[in-house]
């Protein structure tokens, strides 16, 4: 069974519209959670991370915000999309005492 789910799989949105992307982790207790952005053919840029419910640290904001409403859920959002928000959004998790981050399947976003 897949540990990490991201939704939606893909989105096409208009510039200026709001966005909400979700990530759910199953079967892991109190994971550290991460959001990344990846331009087409590009590297992975870390955006946010969260160690615990209600606490989010910003690495690079890119006019986005993140929240962790539940232990197993991480949300990425913005009220106004920009063209530059297009790309591949990846959620990742890490168990607190481990080194490795494990990535989800990603959400493809196209802003027109």
């Amino acid at each position: 069974a897949q540990t990490i789910h991201q939704w939606p799989v893909a989105e096409i949105k208009a510039v200026g519209s709001p966005l909400s992307l979700g990530c759910t982790i199953k079967g892991k207790s109190s994971p550290n959670l991460y959001w990344y952005w990846q331009a087409t053919g590009g590297t992975l840029q870390q955006l946010f991370y969260s160690i615990t419910v209600g606490q989010v640290e910003s690495v690079v904001q890119l006019n986005l915000s993140a929240s962790r409403p539940k232990d197993d859920q991480f949300i990425l959002s913005t009220e106004k999309l920009l063209l530059s928000h297009s790309g591949f959004y990846l959620c990742a998790w890490r168990q607190g005492n481990q080194d490795t981050q494990y990535f989800g399947p990603g959400t493809r976003l196209l802003v027109l």
């Binding site: 991370y49 490795t100 981050q101 493809r108």
Partner: protein, 112 residues
């Protein structure tokens, strides 16, 4: 200043050859170095990782050679297969495992 650099944007080898992907880093405090493999449209998957106390890590056809003094490492893929064609990311992290820095990736093509 880019923290992790990968020397080749792309690499082409023939099936059966050894592919060598190179990576260097800036921060001497980095002590954990994972390599991720990413296929188009998918999230990156951990391939193999090494800690800075080791100079070599082997897992099947994949080997990391690590040089702490020179601050570089390489991923060797023995007996390359067409199915190994993917983008490979070198990454590094230090004491704060919540911050991980990725290289720009090397796109490997294995020709049959």
């Amino acid at each position: 200043q880019q923290q992790v650099r990968q020397s080749s944007q792309s690499l082409t080898v023939w099936e059966g050859e050894t592919a060598i992907l190179n990576c260097s880093y800036e921060n001497s405090a980095f002590d954990y170095f994972p390599w991720y493999q990413q296929f188009p449209g998918e999230g990156p998957a951990l391939l193999i990782a090494i800690r800075s106390v080791s100079d070599k890590k082997e897992d099947g056809r994949f080997t990391i050679f690590f040089n702490k003094r020179e601050k570089n490492l390489s991923l060797h893929i023995k007996d390359s297969q067409p199915g190994d064609s993917a983008t490979y990311f070198c990454a590094a992290s230090g004491n704060s495992n919540n911050r991980i820095f990725f290289g720009d990736g090397t796109q490997l093509v294995v020709k049959p």
